[in-house]
């Protein structure tokens, strides 16, 4: 049997997590030995369940068949010794021995940043994560995220909007599309980008998979940008993994009155870098090519008076037309007129029927 098949069997068919695999490899050095070992030696090392599975899956035909199936599903299997295996990942202590990959070949970038955050974000978070990932990928930075709803999805879309490089890491089997809502994103990622998972096909999205997945997200990146994390958020786990792995942590602040940003503020208090612009991130990596692009917000100086008034009122937090009318202090008709002009020129946009936010990509 091929060397790769042994590794495939060991890391994906025995159902052990990465930690356990590393413990065993400290003893046995190669799964080939484990494969041929007599059962009573290994019995004490494994729990009853693991042991049962171990015996059951130790059949050459099964292994070969499972491996052939991968090929059919266009899933490639990367061993840690192989060249295509992400080099950054090998530096973390509990790296997965085998990484499954779908989509295109992973390109190592000089700088990669992970963008993570809430699954149920506000428009503020969505717009910012899109903006950050778009601008970072324009600079040639790779974007890593988790293919989840909310911030993760927005980060991927943002990077793809400028055909940048982005990589998603799953917390379930590589063949699964989870969450279902993101199916469009998945297909586009398969088409142009890379999707990784340490879990073989068929593994359901168990809740305990996600913290493990987060260590890979942080492992693949040089810095982690947290946008909109609540007090107890999975994104904070990613940040913790990042700290253990010696990565830079960035956090985008929000209003102190909103609980949606408590996690980010907590990170900043603990020393994460407060991030307002892409420059804040890039300056932490002096080796990365210096950029002179100044990313300033559009100040609307060239707008006419009513438009200016209305534009000042519109925010990244969506506002209903009622609120805009009252805050701008203009008549209903005037406000509507101004909003129409602003929208047709792309300064504002509607997230919903008559609910407006600023359009960041203009200016």
């Amino acid at each position: 049997m091929d060397d790769k098949l042994y590794w495939f069997w060991f890391s994906s068919m025995t159902g052990m997590n990465a930690k356990k695999q590393h413990q065993l490899m400290d003893i046995f050095y190669h799964p080939k030995e484990l494969f041929h070992i007599s059962p009573n030696i290994i019995e004490e090392k494994l729990s009853k369940k693991e042991y049962g599975k171990f015996l059951y899956e130790r059949k050459k035909d099964n292994i070969k068949r499972a491996y052939e199936k991968l090929k059919k599903q266009q899933i490639s299997c990367l061993m840690y010794q192989e060249a295509f295996y992400p080099s950054r990942l090998k530096k973390i202590y509990d790296y997965p021995y085998v990484l499954f990959q779908k989509g295109q070949v992973y390109q190592e970038k000089f700088l990669t940043i992970a963008i993570v955050g809430s699954r149920y974000p506000t428009s503020y978070g969505l717009e910012l994560s899109k903006k950050f990932s778009k601008e970072l990928s324009m600079q040639g930075v790779g974007i890593i995220s988790g293919l989840a709803k909310g911030i993760d999805g927005a980060a991927h879309w943002g990077a793809m909007a400028r055909t940048g490089m982005t990589t998603g890491v799953l917390g379930c089997g590589i063949d699964r599309i989870y969450p279902r809502d993101n199916y469009q994103l998945f297909y586009e990622m398969y088409e142009n980008q890379t999707v990784f998972s340490e879990y073989p096909p068929g593994v359901p999205p168990h809740p305990w998979n996600f913290p493990e997945r987060n260590r890979i997200i942080s492992g693949l990146s040089d810095g982690i940008l947290v946008v909109e994390a609540e007090k107890k958020s999975g994104s904070l786990i990613t940040a913790d993994c990042g700290l253990e792995q010696n990565k830079e942590i960035f956090a985008v602040p929000g209003p102190v009155t909103q609980t949606k940003h408590e996690g980010c503020h907590g990170l900043i208090k603990q020393g994460a870098k407060l991030t307002e612009t892409v420059e804040d991130i890039l300056s932490e990596f002096p080796n990365f090519r210096k950029t002179s692009r100044n990313i300033s917000q559009f100040d609307g100086k060239c707008l006419a008076v009513p438009e200016k008034k209305v534009y000042d009122v519109v925010d990244l937090y969506p506002k209903h037309i009622n609120e805009i009318v009252l805050q701008a202090g203009l008549s209903f008709g005037k406000t509507v007129e101004a909003l129409f002009h602003l929208e047709s020129e792309g300064y504002v946009k509607q997230t919903h029927h008559n609910i407006y936010i600023k359009n960041l990509s203009k200016g």
Binding site: S118, K149, R180, P318, L326, H352
Partner: protein, 507 residues
């Protein structure tokens, strides 16, 4: 001896004239009634016999046949006692028979000759009037449910002898309908209780002025229902003709309504309503909620909770203002000239419009909106969104309903002056063919529409809708032509892409 008089029954929401024929001839004493009668109608035999005996003119011992024609319609109700008795009196020569042909008689008899009311005279009288009948004999009890009707003479009678007195000229007629003046109960709901929500209030005023169908999508607690509940307080009054038609519909269904009540109907059926109750129907066709809201407003609160079949059934009535039905081989037409106002949540959890609060997945939303089909959504001229407002922002003092009602009345009057002679009553009714004539558009406005089209805010089909709406807004702003700001305001109520906005956001 043969005599014929007129009477009537209610079929669907309209009256149907019935010929009551009586024949008396020599033969073995025998009394038979024919003509597809219900149980209570067939029992008229005994009541008529007793009533006639009680006034001293018993039935002769001869062979008697009573026929109710047309014989293929099932006759129910007790309105035939009185006409049958009158026909007998004519046969006996107590009443001149010639005059009876032009009189429609409605009433139930007591055994002692008293005439009792039947409760639904109005629809019969209205349709008999259309067929040229001008004089009616009705029970005194029914006086409450009737009103002065143009070109008709309604004679109220208490007992059977009154008929004989009437033709002898000794009957003291009291044709005065009523003396007391009706005052509506003061409504508790007033727009002055509603702070904020300017856009929603404005939308409601526009909708009422131009009779545009309105859909309100909003978060729980944003005041959707509160606003709609206050709509009756700003509606214009029914005119006499409309009032009688509304009343006659209510009479046929058996819902009590004061005939002097000139407020427009406002129906808000519960979402669990069945299709038959919503649309009308049944073996003996009865009007449904759509018909009950004729000339008024049909409010569907939580529209997404209604059955799909109910929502789909709305399409024809909204287009044609009537419901056509086929029951037991007969076509029935129910009027359904109503304005639809609906309220719904933007997603199953309700918070879809509020930032970061919605936890619905794309598929949940898709399932939720399955009921809201394209054609139905297309029937709404206006869509308005409502979110809860932060408390700090307060208008100085909200307008009261009375102020708004005055304005609405003035504008509708003007609207009808403009549309005089075109056959339309409201701007929302203008068909595309007449758009050029009635809603001329300047170049400037066309440019705005093109920009909106480029932004994918409207479709080519939606342009007419926006223009009709703009025309109403222009009228409300006191302008005779559509200007650019009217179009822009109308665009805030557009209905295109509403679903996509709700569904696609945040992917």
């Amino acid at each position: 001896m043969y005599q014929e008089v007129r009477s009537g029954i209610v079929y669907g929401v309209a009256g149907q004239l019935i010929h009551v024929e009586v024949e008396i001839r020599n033969g073995l004493p025998y009394f038979t009634m024919v003509g597809y009668l219900s149980k209570e109608a067939a029992e008229a035999k005994e009541r008529v016999a007793s009533a006639l005996r009680s006034i001293g003119h018993p039935l002769p011992s001869m062979k008697i046949t009573v026929n109710l024609s047309p014989a293929n319609i099932r006759k129910s109700g007790t309105a035939f006692d009185f006409p049958i008795a009158v026909a007998f009196l004519a046969c006996l020569g107590l009443i001149p028979s010639k005059e009876l042909n032009e009189i429609c008689i409605l009433g139930e008899l007591g055994l002692n000759g008293m005439i009792r009311g039947v409760g639904n005279c109005l629809p019969i009288i209205l349709s008999a009037r259309k067929q040229g009948i001008r004089r009616f004999f009705v029970a005194e009890e029914d006086r409450k449910s009737l009103d002065q009707i143009e070109n008709t003479e309604i004679v109220f009678m208490q007992k059977l002898e009154d008929v004989i007195d009437y033709f002898q000229g000794t009957f003291l007629q009291d044709s005065q309908i009523r003396k007391d003046i009706w005052t509506p109960e003061p409504s508790l709901e007033n727009f002055s209780d509603m702070k904020g929500q300017l856009h929603l209030k404005r939308a409601i005023e526009i909708a009422v002025t131009g009779k545009h169908h309105l859909l309100i999508a909003g978060s729980p607690g944003s005041g959707k229902t509160m606003a709609v509940k206050r709509i009756p307080s700003i509606l214009t009054a029914l005119n006499d003709e409309e009032r009688l038609e509304v009343q006659s519909i209510y009479d046929t269904v058996g819902i009590s309504r004061d005939i002097r009540d000139n407020r427009r109907p406002f129906r808000s059926p519960n979402a669990s309503i069945s299709k038959a109750a919503f649309l009308g129907g049944g073996q003996e066709p009865k009007a449904g909620e759509l018909t009950l809201s004729n000339f008024g407003i049909l409010f569907l609160d939580e529209m997404m909770d209604f059955r799909t079949e109910c929502l789909e059934a709305l399409k024809q009535p909204l287009e044609e203002k009537k419901i056509q039905m086929n029951r037991l081989g007969r076509n029935i037409i129910f009027p359904a000239d109503f304005q639809m106002i609906s309220a719904m949540n933007p997603c199953p959890c309700g918070y879809g419009l509020e930032d970061g609060k919605c936890r619905c997945s794309y598929h949940e939303k898709r399932r939720y909106f399955k009921k809201l089909s394209g054609p139905l959504l297309d029937r709404f001229d206006m869509i308005v969104s409502a979110v809860e407002q932060p408390e700090k922002m307060e208008e100085e003092t909200p307008e009261t309903s009375e102020e708004i009602a005055k304005r609405v009345k003035y504008h509708i009057q003007k609207e009808q002056e403009i549309l005089k002679g075109t056959g339309y009553h409201f701007f929302s009714e203008i068909r595309s063919a007449d758009m050029k004539k009635l809603c001329p558009v300047s170049k400037e406005c066309m440019e705005i529409l093109n920009t909106a089209y480029d932004l994918k805010k409207i479709t080519k089909r939606g342009i007419d809708k926006i223009l009709r709406l703009s025309r109403t807004i222009a009228l409300m702003n006191g302008k005779n032509r559509i200007a650019s700001q009217h179009v822009m305001e109308a665009l805030t109520f557009r209905n295109t892409d509403f679903l996509n906005e709700v569904l696609e956001y945040g992917r």
